[in-house]
């Protein structure tokens, strides 16, 4: 291994980043737009022969030049990336990879969580990570309710919590004995998870049959879903939908969930494709998907992206029409003002 060195590559180093892109392209991968660390393996002639990156607690865009495969360079690189992750205090790591690369990761301390046939495998570096996640979902208060018949679930980002979200949960809560509410805890939204969570809790406090869960790293938002090795955007949406559904069904079976409530999607084409796949796949696997028409205010469906836009443009009167009092109070507070300031600075508030 003395002939090879691993080094950090700075994104400002355009020349080397170009080599990274070339290497990735040759191996059928595009550079992911979400990366926060990139390294390269260089040979004795200082040529780039392998590259790998991180984004938060995931490893991404890993490739070894095919002429150098079989020399253990992937092992060298993963060791380096694991060190980097640990410096950032990320211990529980995840990898999304092509099915063909699965066998390498299996020998590097990674374990399969779920897979989408012919497209991708989702792995983590804890042999019982997902089982442990399922086990902690089963809180004590849930055990008491386990005999109840109708158990439903809602998964939401709530970015931010609106009257539409409240309406969906209220409907699920009214029609079922228990509702498991999964809050997407992946912090890639413009509104930080802690705030989103607080607003969900405040806006559903009047419901006594809701059990709250954090999605952890198992259900992530589409903004950070790695898609670099999938061929086109439609495949990306479909693959993510299938992976999410696979994981959701595991959770549903564990908690006895029979129904999942989702809002209809009149705006975003991406979410609409996603929902179509979800309805079909869930049905096949024994979970009924209830697509609830969006709540309308003054004839228009309530949309979180419209609320973010209104916040950015300081139209609090509009925000007031679309959110519960609890959410409005938050945005009037000092903390809420800080979030609004963040929205002001952001150029695209609609698609996150």
């Amino acid at each position: 291994m003395a002939d090879y060195t691993v080094e950090k590559i700075y994104t400002s180093d355009k020349r080397t980043m170009k080599l990274v892109d070339e290497l990735l392209n040759n191996e059928g991968i595009k550079r992911d737009k979400n990366l926060d660390y990139t390294c390269g393996v260089f040979n004795a002639r200082d040529e780039l022969v392998a590259t790998g990156s991180c984004f938060k607690n995931t490893l991404r865009c890993l490739a070894v030049n095919h002429e150098y495969q079989g020399e253990g360079l992937m092992n060298l690189m993963i060791s380096h990336l694991v060190d980097i992750e640990q410096e950032r205090d990320n211990w529980h790591l995840f990898v999304y990879t092509k099915v063909s690369a699965f066998k390498f990761f299996k020998t590097l301390g990674f374990y399969e969580i779920a897979r989408v046939q012919d497209q991708l495998v989702f792995l983590e570096n804890r042999p019982s990570g997902f089982t442990d996640y399922l086990a902690q979902l089963d809180s004590d208060d849930h055990l008491k309710l386990k005999k109840s018949q109708k158990v439903a679930s809602v998964v939401m980002n709530a970015n931010p919590f609106s009257l539409g979200h409240q309406y969906l949960i209220e409907k699920a809560a009214a029609e079922n004995d228990i509702v498991h509410l999964f809050m997407v805890s992946d912090d890639s939204s413009l509104i930080p998870f802690e705030d989103r969570k607080r607003l969900i809790l405040a806006g559903t406090r009047h419901l006594n049959n809701v059990i709250y869960h954090e999605s952890g790293s198992y259900i992530i938002s589409s903004a950070t879903f790695p898609s670099y090795f999938l061929k086109d955007s439609e495949t990306v949406i479909k693959t993510q939908a299938q992976l999410d559904i696979d994981i959701f069904v595991e959770i549903a079976n564990y908690l006895g969930i029979t129904h999942r409530y989702v809002g209809s999607e009149p705006f975003s084409q991406v979410t609409s494709i996603y929902n179509d796949i979800m309805v079909r796949e869930l049905q096949e696997r024994g979970v009924t998907c209830m697509v609830v028409p969006r709540l309308k205010v003054d004839g228009a469906a309530v949309s979180a992206s419209q609320i973010r836009l209104a916040l950015k443009e300081d139209r609090l009167d509009d925000v007031q029409r679309w959110v519960p009092q609890t959410t409005l109070d938050f945005f009037k507070s000092a903390e809420g003002q800080r979030v609004i300031a963040r929205l002001h600075r952001s150029t695209n508030v609609v698609h996150y």
């Binding site: 253990g72 092992n75 694991v82 211990w91 570096n125 042999p127």
Partner: protein
């Protein structure tokens, strides 16, 4: 020695082992992955448990990814991970007393 925080020692390169340790309440958990598990799994486990015993480690969750490391390598990596996780500074380690 007490496992106070997460730590890692070693690499995934050939002839090495990567040992990750996490605190666990009152129990010792060992998880071994190895390319030679069928041949040397028991020996690897024995070396790790002996090393932990020498260090007086009673609890912790250990994830071992072995790439064909020799016993002495495994021992050194386990010691490294434990010292790091116990916040042991260089001067606190009784090098001469290591078995």
């Amino acid at each position: 020695m007490e496992i106070k925080k997460n730590a890692v020692a070693g690499t995934l390169e050939s002839s090495d082992a990567q040992i990750t340790v996490e605190p666990a309440q009152g129990k010792l958990e060992l998880n071994i992955q190895s390319s030679v598990l069928n041949q040397y799994g028991r020996q690897i486990k024995k070396v790790i448990l002996e090393t932990l015993d020498n260090l007086d480690v009673k609890s912790g969750r250990f994830y071992v990814v072995d790439k064909g490391a020799l016993d002495c390598t495994i021992k050194a990596r386990v010691e490294g991970a434990v010292y790091r996780s116990a916040d042991a500074a260089e001067k606190d380690i009784k090098w001469g007393a290591l078995k």
